[in-house]
């Protein structure tokens, strides 16, 4: 077995040194009738070539985003990731290191986390950010719990534009913890009045921008109403590239900002692993979940970094911890940080502008199709169109022609009665030819 260095001679010598006859003697505490005397019903060891063959066969059954005109978003976005990102995250010292519990020999990871926290705070317009969460959806769940701790209230109001998966994560966690969730119905037309749902019982109002239908939300009046009744505004961003173009949630009054960071540095990967961003006001830092990296000095006075404020965390506080999170998304955070460092402010701004202009061009073209309406007044790189037919069937028909046209709203909310809506995303990876192919195919299919 290529991964196991011990030889039969080594094993025999080691057993002799231990003073037992067989390795099973070391399993003496296992009830004798439960110790397996057979191999389990699974295949036996394979060489690299055979494994590659088996897995390539599975992978080959999937249609890859890069092989077709591709317009899916709704929480996961296909952006071009510079080649150096994937090279750097595969450096052994990043890839095969553990959580930095021994700071003297993990300054590489720790400095990256410090830089990541600073980047996330800048991008979201907030004062502090943590060292990452699993993904945007679980970060949203944690943000609600944090708001409950701060306000000592237990009712969250979820905007109808919040990604349904995110809303379900919050609802599941809240149901288990006996907290209350007021989830507003989906609102593709953009005429809900969220302000009316915020009252003196509200711990937080959770608003996504751009929302799941692609619409940009003016957070300032929501923040104002929330603050007037002692509630917090939790802003959710599922497409962080938008922050290259729009006002950061922190500048609009958000108290907690959570985001899905996959767009930078991380592949679509069928949904994971991704990286959750979590940022807040400095006064709430001790209520934050997750790991925090802070600056300090070593015994010679040199600047260095450590994990800090761990008295919030499960390994110290146990059942009184702010969260149960332990492992988070270190390597995905690294990929995010490298990509953002390569882009820089100038590159991010340009990337956002390219996304937006391609989306505007496609929205204009689709709006010109008979029977198709673009519902959004505002959007970044994603918008919702109303089709004269059920969107899922149209998507299926176009997939058969080699075009992945978008996410039918019915995929995310089967019971909402919004079967004719299609969410279409356009990133810098989409070419003018791709857009023309979608317009032509939709035109023929409708």
């Amino acid at each position: 077995m290529r991964y196991l260095p011990l030889t039969e001679t080594d094993r025999a010598d080691m057993l002799a040194r231990i003073g037992v006859q067989t390795v099973d003697a070391l399993y003496a505490d296992v009830p004798a009738d439960e110790l397996l005397d057979r191999l389990l019903d699974l295949p036996t060891a394979k060489g690299e070539m055979e494994v590659e063959r088996a897995m390539a066969r599975m992978a080959g059954k999937n249609v890859t985003a890069g092989s077709v005109p591709f317009f899916l978003g709704a929480g996961a976005y296909r952006h071009h990731v510079p080649a150096s990102v994937d090279h750097l995250i595969q450096r052994s010292e990043f890839l095969t290191s553990y959580t930095p519990y021994q700071p003297e020999i993990t300054q590489g990871t720790l400095q990256v986390l410090f830089e990541f926290q600073t980047q996330v705070a800048a991008l979201t317009g907030m004062e502090v950010a943590n060292a990452s969460m699993y993904d945007g959806s679980t970060a949203t769940g944690e943000a609600v719990l944090m708001a409950h701790r701060i306000t000592k209230r237990r009712k969250a109001v979820l905007d109808g534009g919040l990604h349904p998966h995110y809303a379900e994560v919050v609802a599941t966690l809240s149901a288990m913890a006996s907290d209350t969730v007021d989830r507003l119905p989906p609102d593709p037309a953009g005429d809900e009045d969220i302000l009316a749902s915020i009252d003196a019982e509200t711990s937080c109002v959770v608003v996504q921008t751009p929302d799941v239908f692609g619409r940009l939300i003016d957070l300032a009046p929501i923040a104002e109403k929330a603050h007037a009744v002692g509630a917090l505004l939790v802003a959710v961003v599922t497409e962080v590239v938008a922050l290259g173009a729009i006002e950061p949630p922190g500048a609009q009054g958000a108290d907690i900002v959570v985001a899905e960071g996959q767009s930078l540095g991380n592949p679509l990967g069928f949904g994971g692993p991704y990286v959750g961003l979590f940022a807040a006001r400095a006064k709430h830092v001790r209520q934050m979940p997750g790991r925090l990296c802070g600056e300090t000095v070593d015994a010679e006075g040199k600047r260095g970094f450590v994990l800090t404020l761990s008295t919030r965390e499960q390994h110290i506080r146990r059942e009184k911890a702010t969260s149960n999170i332990c492992t988070n998304a270190g390597l995905c955070a690294l990929a995010f940080s490298i990509h953002l460092t390569l882009l820089g402010e100038a590159g991010l701004t340009r990337l956002a502008a390219l996304n937006h202009e391609a989306a505007v061009a496609l929205a204009d073209d689709l709006a010109a199709l008979p029977g198709v309406a673009v519902l959004n007044d505002t959007f970044f790189n994603e918008f919702t169109v109303k089709l004269p037919k059920p969107a899922a069937a149209v998507v299926e028909a176009l997939a058969a022609q080699g075009i992945l046209a978008g996410v039918p709203v019915s995929r995310l909310m089967p019971a909402a009665g919004l079967d004719d809506l299609l969410i279409v995303a356009v990133t810098e990876c989409v070419t003018a030819d791709d857009r023309a192919a979608l317009v032509a195919a939709l035109s023929a299919a409708l």
Binding site: S97, T172, E247, H315, G330, E345, A399, L404
Partner: protein, 518 residues
């Protein structure tokens, strides 16, 4: 300020005095400034075409102020991150005996497989007709995990071990509620990992502690004594955090089952028993599996992990959405309650999308490579290696619980350092100077000055021998009164000991631009 290489530095990073060099660098060990100190906002390492600058649809919400994000060209960025990487210890570079964390070799085949475009470049919401292979991979990992554990079902979506605990405890809560039972108490041994009580508390359970016996195990009698009609579940790690297989596990499981409760097993240490004994056979109802431990997906400096949770017949119906059901050999994706069948009563959703697909593909490569035989051999070698180290060290260092054989890790306490003035922390830091990452320190909490050593199956005998010899040398040095070797350690790392108190007292959690001189 700029140094003579044109790289801006900060005074505190120059460190010329202590290093004795002008740059602060010491040969291959380079000081590296922050991106905010070396980057510039107008620089980009990505070439993008100029936007045409037409009509926008941003409403009144276009960004009005700069963000303050620095950029680096590609050569600068590559150098920055490569220099930083060299300040990290890694399993690729040396033995990493971090007990309970399972730092074993990460096969590169997993990296190659995860990067196949058919897995990496697939969107989670593509039509299911275009992702049959992805669903097949998820179902296949689930099949391996249920067979290896002897359980009925596997919920694949949890993102890490603690998230898997949450998934499993939610299934237990849902099952209790479905039976109309109000059972708010969870029994958790004192030796448990901190995530166990934190998880239970997160969803409203009260935690009741079970003491550890002097031999490092949990007594069935103590569990029975703690059970009353308010107890809904027991959370137990097996093999436990002291590295011992709980000898009364069957009686403990029976006790909680007779009381109508459920047995949650923390699967952090499953890597000791794969192919040797199945958790389903010793009465487990739910157990998460850290794919980043047992199935060796890379730890990545703190994630991403993956924590699928296997469920017994009693809990399988409550598995969260989404899940993959296999019908006539074909995987079927169930994402919404409207797609469920009789007997499927998911309690909700834990995360967006389908879980850590990139970890599933790596774990599957590991499973297929090892096979049923190789996985069993890996567990046996891990256990053999831990017991071998113990045999090599037990005359000098104090084994915390000598009455039981160790599983994949061996726990020492600090009695052997009594009267030496050397603490567990000092001992660990001295290991750094010898070129080793320290073992897990001060965990579990049930022994004084704990040192938990997990060598894993990835070490050769020569590597184990050198490691044992090193620990013997350090122990003898401590006993001989060579205090400086410990108090001053680490002396040869990129940093000396760091002031953690200062970091916590006045938290500085991001870079701030230096204030301009008045």
């Amino acid at each position: 300020m700029l140094n003579d290489k044109g790289r801006p530095t900060r005074p505190e990073t120059a460190g010329a005095a202590s290093a004795g060099t002008f740059t602060g660098n010491k040969g291959l060990d380079a000081e590296e400034a922050l991106i905010f100190e070396i980057g510039r906002p107008e620089v980009s390492g990505v070439d993008l075409p100029a936007p045409k600058g037409g009509r926008t649809r941003l409403g009144g919400l276009a960004r009005t102020a700069p963000l303050g994000l620095p950029g680096l060209s590609e050569p600068e960025a590559v150098r920055h991150y490569v220099r930083l990487s060299r300040k990290n210890y890694s399993i690729d570079a040396g033995l990493y005996p971090l007990g309970s964390c399972t730092m074993k070799h990460n096969p590169r085949l997993g990296e190659k497989m995860a990067r196949l475009p058919g897995f990496a470049d697939v969107h989670p919401l593509q039509p299911v007709s275009t992702v049959g292979g992805a669903l097949e991979a998820i179902a296949e990992v689930g099949r391996w995990l249920t067979e290896l554990t002897g359980m009925a079902a596997c919920a694949m979506s949890p993102k890490a071990g603690a998230h898997g605990e949450l998934a499993g405890m939610m299934a237990i809560k849902a099952a209790l509620q479905a039976r109309g039972l109000d059972r708010p108490v969870v029994l958790v041994p004192e030796s448990a990992h901190g995530t166990n009580p934190a998880t239970a508390a997160l969803i409203g359970f009260e935690v009741r502690a079970i003491p550890a016996r002097p031999d490092g195990t949990v007594a069935a009698a103590d569990v029975r004594a703690a059970i009353d009609d308010r107890v809904g579940a027991l959370m137990l790690t097996n093999p436990n955090t002291c590295g011992i297989f709980e000898p009364e596990i069957a009686e403990i499981a029976a006790a909680i089952h007779e009381a109508g409760g459920y047995f949650y097993c923390d699967g952090a240490n499953f890597n000791a028993i794969v192919g040797k004994v199945r958790p389903g056979d010793f009465g487990v109802d739910a157990m998460h599996i850290n794919l980043h431990k047992t199935f060796s997906t890379p730890h990545g400096g703190g994630g991403p992990g993956a924590g699928p949770v296997v469920l017994s017949e009693r809990l399988a119906a409550f598995a969260p959405l989404p899940f993959v059901r296999v019908e006539a050999g074909k995987p079927v994706l169930v994402e919404d309650a409207s797609q469920t069948r009789d007997g499927e009563t998911p309690y909700g959703r834990l995360t967006a999308f389908h879980g850590q697909m990139g970890m599933f593909t790596r774990a599957l490569a590991y499973m297929l490579s090892h096979g049923a035989d190789g996985l069993r051999q890996a567990s046996e070698d891990a256990v053999l290696s831990a017991n071998y180290l113990r045999a090599c060290l037990s005359d000098l260092m104090t084994v915390a619980f000598p009455d039981h054989p160790s599983m994949h890790e061996v726990l020492f306490d600090d009695r052997f350092l009594e009267e030496t003035g050397v603490t567990t922390l000092d001992f660990a830091k001295a290991m750094i100077d010898e070129g080793y990452h320290p073992m897990t320190m001060y965990f579990p909490l049930v022994v004084h000055g704990a040192m938990l050593i997990e060598p894993t199956e990835s070490e050769s005998k020569a590597s184990l021998d050198l490691f044992a010899a090193t620990l013997r040398d350090l122990t003898l040095a401590a006993k001989a009164g060579d205090r400086d070797r410990f108090a001053e350690a680490p002396r040869f790392a990129p940093r000396r000991r760091l002031d953690e108190t200062r970091a916590a007292r006045a938290p500085k959690l991001k870079w701030e631009a230096p204030k301009p001189l008045a």
